[in-house]
């Protein structure tokens, strides 16, 4: 197992390098640049800007310099669009915000989703099943860009209970968490339900029941763990998606997370910010697919690395 983890981490380095090079090239291939404006800049000013940010050098040197900056100083460079901030500062300010509402949304989605799924499976075709499936389908079809403005309308304008946006104490977290967690929760509930139904029909459950174990113990001790396998393979990528930010949440609730910065940086051609966030997302993706694989081995004794 230890060797497996080491091997996976070793592969991660060339993967990240490849990610950097490909994103870098794709980004530079897009028309326009960070300093393309409605009013074209005089050639001299543009040349000055390009020189300041090193954009006048050949691409390979830009990439090499960039990677060296990260490896040697953990410096992701200056933002091209926010001249008084570095990429490190932008991520340091935005990522904790995203991590907070994303982390809570993840916990909520897993807890509620799994509970709904299990409840629906053990009382299949009862009112409880229909209710749980109804809720999860409802949550799935209501996209967060519809839900977000609706939440603001109801809880800020009509009821006056919650601030309509911004970032501060827990009161600011509620609406982003609700808007972000629902669709994940719905997917988790559906996956849990079908996997649970499959497990409940399997031989070892019949054996457990035949032993005379109470239903509660059958579910918790024997059914839940194997039923979680497909859920966990979904959770790995979902976790990365959820904590690396949602542009919709940042846009509607002005949370200042990195989701919005990511999209803005692409539209603004803010190469450095875009690279910084791409690398962050890439590294997290690699890390959590590894975590999922390790969890797999722990849950399913049949899997050995």
């Amino acid at each position: 197992m230890f060797g497996f983890i080491l091997r996976r981490l070793a592969v991660a380095i060339p993967t990240l390098l490849l990610l950097i090079v490909v994103s870098f090239l794709l980004m530079h291939a897009a028309p326009g640049g960070p300093f393309t404006q409605e009013r074209a800049l005089p050639p001299q000013v543009l040349a000055n800007l390009n020189a300041k940010y090193g954009l006048d050098e050949p691409l390979w040197r830009q990439i090499a310099g960039y990677v060296w900056g990260i490896v040697a100083h953990f410096d992701f460079g200056p933002s091209f669009v926010y001249p008084d901030r570095s990429v490190n500062q932008i991520i340091a300010a935005g990522f904790p915000v995203t991590l907070t509402y994303g982390g809570i949304a993840f916990v909520v989605a897993v807890a509620v989703g799994v509970a709904l799924g299990v409840a629906a499976a053990i009382r299949q075709n009862s009112w409880m099943d229909y209710l749980a499936v109804g809720i999860s389908i409802g949550a799935q079809v209501l996209p967060n860009f519809v839900m977000a403005p609706l939440l603001v309308l109801v809880f800020t304008l009509w009821l006056g209970w919650l601030p309509g946006g911004g970032w501060g104490g827990p009161i600011y977290w509620i609406m982003p968490v609700v808007a972000l967690s629902t669709s994940f929760m719905a997917s988790i509930a559906r996956i849990t339900r079908s996997s649970m139904l499959e497990v409940l029909g399997s031989n070892h459950i019949r054996t457990a029941r035949a032993k005379g174990l109470p239903e509660r113990a059958v579910i918790l001790r024997h059914a839940l763990k194997p039923a979680m396998l497909p859920v966990i393979s979904y959770l790995g990528p979902a976790f990365v998606t959820i904590i690396t930010g949602s542009v919709v949440i940042d846009m509607y609730f002005s949370t200042g997370g990195i989701g919005r910065s990511f999209v803005d940086s692409a539209l603004n051609r803010d190469y450095a910010v875009m690279m910084g966030i791409t690398i962050l997302v890439g590294a997290l993706t690699i890390l959590f697919s590894l975590v999922v694989d390790v969890l797999y081995a722990w849950i399913d004794p049949k899997i050995r690395y």
Binding site: G32, F35, P78, A148, G164, G165, W167, S254
Partner: protein, 534 residues
């Protein structure tokens, strides 16, 4: 030397308080003197020489103060300078700075600060995206300094003493005083900038000379400011705290305004009539100095058809501006038949023939012109309109497609992302392109210079007579004569399809007073606003 005052407002301003008495007769100030305004996007920087955004300028105008400010109508009034002298040849301006002006750390604001900042704007090492503004101001050697051919020290700006600033221009520039109200000309504190580097504009580090100091700035969330006790006119500043909240979605911003979280917000397109009826004291429509148009590519790279003036005229005549303004935008915008915004100070609207016709007449004429140019049912004119992604641009483009169908023109719509749109326009890689121009200063030349052969002019329009008129306007006693004549040439050559002239359509809470409603530039100063008891 002749002693010159800016306008009558300044003459009054020299003897009397600079602005109207606050609060006005019968108004009682509210306990709560705070003002929260809406920002669509994150503020990119609070550095006067590096900012390029309108929203950034709104912040900079509170944190810093330039030589001159604007009054509620947009006319220049004293700022750090109490007034100026203009030499006989109209090439040297001498500004007199008030000795009481201070930085927020208590240091005096001197002419040297302005010299430093102006050089900083032009200096290639700063790499300012607004360096061209110094060239637009015609400051001596600005172009050479920006190009790196001369050192910043050779820029035509000099501190005669601590409180006297001398600026030399290359050519008489009648609108020069209006240009020094622009944020890029505001002073910065040399020691702070040099000590802190790029991060000097962060809260706690930033030293300004404006009526407010920066308290906090969370990127993409909010920026808050507090009254600066060191400001020379702090006794007359009523508003204590101001805050900008970023809300990326206009509809959510409106909801938050209605929930009481914002004091001012833009009204989304099409909602003005409803809100005006519901909240007559809050919904406002203020002329705003931008013009919306479709640029026609008349360059070598442009389509053959657009080189024919008859085709260009037909396209302009067939644009049903009343439909755009009254049915799509519905916010008090005005149909445009010319380029310069109607509300620009001193601008006299020329008599443009087709502005006076009925739409039916225009359509007839357009069809006739197209037929004359050789286009008809058997040989329909096909053109592509490129516009950048935006709901409103799309609505207007779809409408234009229908308008042009009526004269037999097949218009293909091509929607691209903003940077791609800009990039293609700048390389003349388009046929018709959505475009808008906003004034840099409150004078018609900011619009008309665009269409000079040497101007931005993405469609590469060129007419020597037009250029000559614009050259003449620079030294003219009354340049508005030339401007009117230049507009007539544009209407004759039609290198663009003017569509509409902007209004700023906003909700403003009715207990907030002192926001300018007649300044076409829409520049506002928090030091002039206050909240009354209702």
């Amino acid at each position: 030397m002749i002693r010159l005052f800016l306008t009558t407002a300044l003459v009054a301003g020299m003897a009397l308080p600079a602005l109207a008495v606050k609060p006005a007769e019968g108004e009682k100030l509210a306990e709560n003197q705070s003002y929260t305004f809406w920002l669509l996007d994150a503020i990119k920087t609070a550095d006067p020489q590096k900012n390029t955004d309108v929203e950034g300028s709104d912040i900079i105008r509170q944190l810093f103060e330039g030589l001159l400010n604007e009054d509620e109508k947009g006319a220049p009034v004293p700022g750090v300078a109490t007034g100026f002298d203009l030499s006989e040849d109209k090439l040297t301006y001498t500004f007199h700075l008030r000795p009481a002006a201070k930085w927020s750390n208590g240091d005096p604001v001197t002419a040297h600060d302005f010299v430093y900042s102006w050089r900083r704007l032009a200096d290639p090492a700063t790499a300012s995206e607004y360096a061209w503004f110094m060239e637009l101001m015609n400051v001596e050697n600005a172009t050479a300094v920006v190009k790196g051919e001369k050192t910043p020290e050779e820029l035509g700006v000099k501190a005669v003493d601590d409180h006297t600033l001398e600026v030399r221009l290359t050519t008489p520039t009648p609108y020069f005083p209006k240009m020094v109200t622009h944020g890029s000309t505001f002073p910065v504190h040399q020691k702070v900038v040099e000590a802190e580097g790029d991060s000097w504009t962060q809260p706690g580090k930033l030293v300004g000379n404006g009526a407010y100091v920066l308290k906090s700035h969370d990127l993409g969330v909010q920026i808050s400011m507090e009254k600066n006790p060191e400001y020379w006119d702090a006794d007359n500043v009523i508003m204590e705290r101001i805050k900008g909240l970023t809300v990326n979605d206009n509809n959510v911003a409106l909801t938050r305004y209605q929930a009481g979280e914002l004091d001012r917000v833009q009204i989304p397109a099409g909602q003005y009539p409803r809100l005006k009826e519901q909240f007559p004291d809050q919904a406002v429509s203020i002329p705003y100095s931008c013009t919306y148009a479709y640029l026609l590519n008349v360059s070598e790279k442009g389509p053959e058809a657009l080189k024919d003036v008859r085709v260009r005229k037909a396209l302009s005549y067939a644009m049903q501006r009343d439909v755009v303004v009254n049915q799509i935008l519905q916010g008090g915008q005005k149909p445009a038949y010319n380029w310069t915004h109607w509300a620009i100070e001193g601008f006299q609207m020329p008599e443009i023939d087709y502005a006076g016709w009925s739409q039916a007449e225009r359509l007839e004429k357009a069809k006739a012109l197209l037929a004359e140019a050789g286009y008809g049912p058997d040989k329909p004119l096909k053109l592509t309109l490129q516009y950048n992604t935006d709901e409103n641009h799309k609505k207007i483009a779809v409408a234009a497609q229908q308008f042009y169908k009526q004269i037999g023109v097949e218009l293909t719509l091509n929607n691209v992302e903003w940077k791609v749109h800009t990039d293609r326009m700048q390389s003349q890689d388009f046929e018709m392109a959505r475009y808008a121009w906003c004034a840099d200063y409150n004078e018609a030349s900011t619009f008309l210079d665009y269409f000079r052969s040497t101007g931005m002019n993405y469609g590469k329009y060129s007419n020597p007579e037009f250029d000559r008129l614009m050259d003449q306007s620079k030294t003219s006693e009354d340049p508005n004569e030339q401007y009117t004549a230049a507009e007539k040439i544009l209407a004759e050559d039609m290198p663009l399809v003017p569509v509409y002239q902007y209004s700023k359509v906003d909700m403003i809470r009715d207990d907030i007073k002192g926001l300018p409603t007649e300044n076409v530039m829409n520049d506002w100063y928090a030091k002039d606003i206050y909240r009354i008891q209702k």
